[in-house]
């Protein structure tokens, strides 16, 4: 109980700091939302007038405090660029990004854990091929994999129509078919990393004394692997996967551009260049929340895997 409360407090504090830093960052870099709204030919008076209307002339801390109070009350404000409530905007975008992230995570986990276990048991050429393949996939950036996938499956095989995203409510099947490819593009490098991690984890554990003891007591190989070794080897892997799932959401900014998916990532990208503060702030806080939440869950899972962690 005490642990949960402490964790919760840490989560809130992290989000507060992140949101403050994001606000501060826009204070430092040049640019002003009125530039985009009024265009290049607006006069300084018009700009001043709009700034006054938008409340941008108030001191930095006052603005931040004002934003924070409204945010806590559930009022995310209106987007400068689109004149519509940020909450409404995100409601349409968040599920898309979340679905993409979950799909990518699912692919990563389902493929990498069996593959990691498999590759740890091998030697010789199989191992070497796997290592080379892994290195290759890790080296290619997801956006490039995305372009290759679009070319192969979109243009040549025509399994999906590039650029024709279908929303989930319209046609769940078509939506998933479309999202599978960007999800693979995001997942591939992560699969390679997770496999590598799990493989070396298992190999390290296999060399330890308790494994020899287990052997001498007459346990067979797979029982040792699944009951003892895997449990220990999974702890760092789970932590890594948690980082991955946080990373996936951030990585979707790029992949959403490549596949023209109308998700949160694209919105974040454009609202940063437009200095659309309310939108940027909302997305950043959401992402921070996501990262902290996932790490928290990873901690819980690890405690189940390794009882020693519960004491600390």
């Amino acid at each position: 109980m005490k642990y949960a409360v402490r964790k919760l407090a840490m989560m809130l504090l992290t989000m507060l700091i992140v949101s403050f830093l994001a606000y501060l960052a826009f204070q430092i870099i040049p640019g002003d939302p009125t530039n985009k709204i009024l265009g290049t030919e607006a006069t300084e008076e018009q700009r001043q007038m709009l700034r006054e209307q938008m409340g941008l002339n108030r001191p930095f801390l006052v603005r931040y405090g004002d934003w924070l109070i409204h945010f806590v009350q559930g009022d995310l404000g209106d987007s400068y660029s689109y004149s519509m409530p940020v909450g409404e905007m995100l409601a349409g975008k968040l599920p898309v990004t979340l679905l993409l992230a979950l799909l990518a995570f699912l692919i990563t986990t389902v493929v990498s854990i069996p593959l990691g276990i498999f590759s740890a048991g091998r030697g010789g050429w199989v191992d070497r091929v796997m290592t080379v393949l892994g290195q290759l996939t890790m080296a290619v950036p997801p956006f490039f994999i995305g372009i290759i996938l679009t070319y192969c499956f979109g243009l040549v095989l025509q399994w999906f129509t590039p650029g024709q995203f279908v929303s989930f409510s319209q046609d769940p099947g078509a939506c998933l078919t479309y999202l599978v490819f960007p999800a693979i593009a995001i997942a591939l490098p992560r699969i390679a990393m997770t496999v590598k991690m799990l493989r070396s984890g298992i190999l390290a554990e296999l060399g330890k004394d308790y494994v020899r003891t287990a052997h001498s007591r007459g346990n067979d190989r797979s029982a040792i692997l699944y009951r003892h070794v895997l449990r220990n080897a999974l702890v760092p892997t789970v932590t890594f996967l948690a980082m991955t799932i946080a990373d996936i959401v951030a990585g979707s900014v790029v992949i959403e551009q490549v596949f023209a998916i109308p998700g949160m990532g694209r919105l974040l990208f454009s609202s940063i260049s437009n200095r659309d503060y309310p939108v940027v702030q909302a997305i950043i806080v959401l992402m921070a929340f996501w990262v902290v939440l996932v790490n928290f869950l990873a901690d819980l899972i690890n405690q189940r895997l390794d009882p020693r962690l519960r004491l600390q």
């Binding site: 709204i37 006069t43 498999f118 243009l155 551009q257 919105l267």
Partner: protein, 514 residues
């Protein structure tokens, strides 16, 4: 054991096929990315790809970006509107007269013009729209040129008079300003005009949907529905074109257009209608010296730039006017300085820079043609001893630092006209103008401008504007380059694309052939 080997092989096969797909892929030319487009043809609709969402206001009186103007052109109309020849034709107004003293404009409204909500346009709507743009109570009017308006009056249900302070030949050009319903307060989110298309919906960073307005007073749109889809990534845009998701896309680069299959798309060539140049800060050293600017003019090879940036396409310009302004454009100015690096070097030596100097060109990184141009210009200037550093900055930084702050040495950008007057191109170089971002200061130029805007003789005005252009060339205000080409990809089976001398894409004339 066997199962595991099988699983491994399957995984390898998948990854292998993915990686090999790109190797020999380019040979696959019989790709027919046609799914979806037959359906769109049957439904009489198209998808237009655009590279940027409309991120300023949708309010036609406030929105400022070229991209927004391009879309809103199909939804709104003014009392008059430009046609494809650059002339003003009557739109919401049926006819107009100008009083002999040049100060009173009388407009008869066209009967039967309706807003998209079905209401007929009345004189009150027109008065409201003009007054909204002329209102200076907040510091400055929405349309700067409307500051000369003294009175807007509804004479009767269908007649409006506008009185201005002094005669101004260009005033009529500003009456392209959109007519909106009186008191309508959702302009920023739900546009409501009199154009051939009416606004349906939008989804940020995804699409904007418009459909045919059945009660349009004129000929009306050929298509029933148009969806603008946003593809910010140039690769995604290209894939979507190839895959059949888009039917029409303007502003493609030469490299993009050349990758499209001509069985799928026809490539049409227009001009961007802007003046691309190395704009020089006339107050920054060493460009405060006219002789240095003139010397650099000889170092620029326009043809080489166009070859590199756009496969040889584009129109060279020699002053701040682009060719679509047929009345004012002077093609001979493009040959005023001929490419001659030896002469450039010689001239530089004469004015005290025998070893050249260092300079920085600032360029907004989101615009590929300008970035590419900067690379070529840098090479050409290095050849005469000027050591160029290219500084790529984000658009917002460029705007704050270079355009507004005038804190730069040189920058490459395209300058266009906000309406179809020579004044829109030339006024910015008047020494006191707030848009004079190059700090051009020439009393002779200022005086010519004063004469040009006050004269009541159109021919004299044209002559004066030409003199001003010549002056810009002679004093080498900037290193003028070109009006960039504008490539439009349109699906085979579509016809009716018309190029305008301003940055608009008229969708009403486009339709599928039977």
């Amino acid at each position: 054991m066997k199962k595991r080997t099988l699983a491994l092989f399957l995984t390898l096969a998948l990854v292998g096929s993915v990686l090999s797909g790109c190797g020999d892929g380019s040979g696959n030319q019989d790709v027919e990315g046609n799914h979806g487009y037959e359906e769109r043809k049957a439904a009489n609709e198209i998808v237009v790809g655009i590279a940027q969402d409309l991120e300023d206001s949708l309010d036609p009186h406030i929105s400022a970006s070229a991209g927004s103007r391009e879309v809103l052109f199909n939804i709104y109309e003014g009392l008059v509107k430009p046609n494809s020849d650059g002339e003003l034709i009557c739109a919401v107004a049926q006819d107009h007269q100008i009083s002999p003293d040049g100060r009173t404009y009388t407009f008869q409204l066209r009967p039967g013009v309706r807003f998209h909500n079905g209401q007929e346009v009345t004189a009150a709507d027109v008065v409201y729209s003009i007054e909204r743009c002329a209102d200076a109570s907040g510091g400055a009017p929405l349309v700067a040129a409307f500051s000369v308006i003294q009175e807007v009056k509804a004479v009767d249900e269908s007649t409006v008079t506008i009185t201005i302070a002094q005669p101004d030949l260009d005033f009529i050009s500003y009456l392209t300003t959109a007519i909106v319903p009186e008191g309508y307060d959702q302009l920023a989110t739900a546009p409501m005009g009199t154009g051939p298309f009416r606004y349906v919906s939008r989804s940020p960073q995804e699409n904007i949907i418009i459909e045919k307005f059945d009660d349009y007073w004129g000929e009306g749109a050929k298509l029933d529905k148009v969806t603008y889809k946003i593809y910010e990534d140039s690769n995604a845009l290209l894939m979507a074109l190839k895959g059949g998701s888009i039917d029409l896309c303007a502003h493609l680069t030469d490299a993009q257009a050349s990758q499209l299959d001509d069985q799928q798309f026809q490539i049409l060539e227009g001009t961007m209608n802007l003046v691309q140049a190395v704009y020089l800060n006339n107050k920054a050293e060493p460009f405060d010296d006219m002789a240095v600017r003139q010397a650099l003019c000889y170092a620029i090879d326009r043809q080489a730039i166009m070859d590199f940036v756009a496969g040889g396409r584009g129109t060279p310009v020699g002053s701040s006017m682009y060719p679509a302004f047929t009345k004012y454009f002077m093609p001979e100015l493009a040959d005023y300085y001929t490419y001659d690096p030896a002469k450039a070097k010689e001239l530089l030596a004469e004015v005290g820079y025998p070893d050249g100097f260092d300079m920085t060109i600032m360029v907004a990184s989101n615009n590929k043609p300008h970035v590419d141009t900067a690379e070529v210009v840098a090479q050409q200037l290095r050849a005469v001893g000027v050591n160029v550093t290219i500084q790529q900055v984000e658009w917002q930084t460029w705007y704050d630092e270079a355009y507004k702050g005038r804190n730069y040495q040189a920058t490459i950008i395209g300058v266009d006209a906000s309406n179809l007057t020579a004044r829109a191109m030339l006024e910015r170089f008047v020494s006191t103008d707030s848009s004079n971002f190059i700090n051009y200061n020439n009393p002779e130029y200022d005086q010519l401008f004063q004469q040009a805007i006050t004269t009541t003789d159109p021919e004299e005005q044209t002559a004066l504007y030409k003199q001003m252009q010549t002056l810009l060339t002679e004093t080498a205000a900037n290193l003028y380059i070109q009006d960039l080409c504008d490539l439009v990809a349109m699906r085979q089976g579509l016809t009716g694309l018309v190029f305008y001398p301003t940055f608009v894409l008229d969708l009403s004339t486009i339709g599928w052939t039977a």
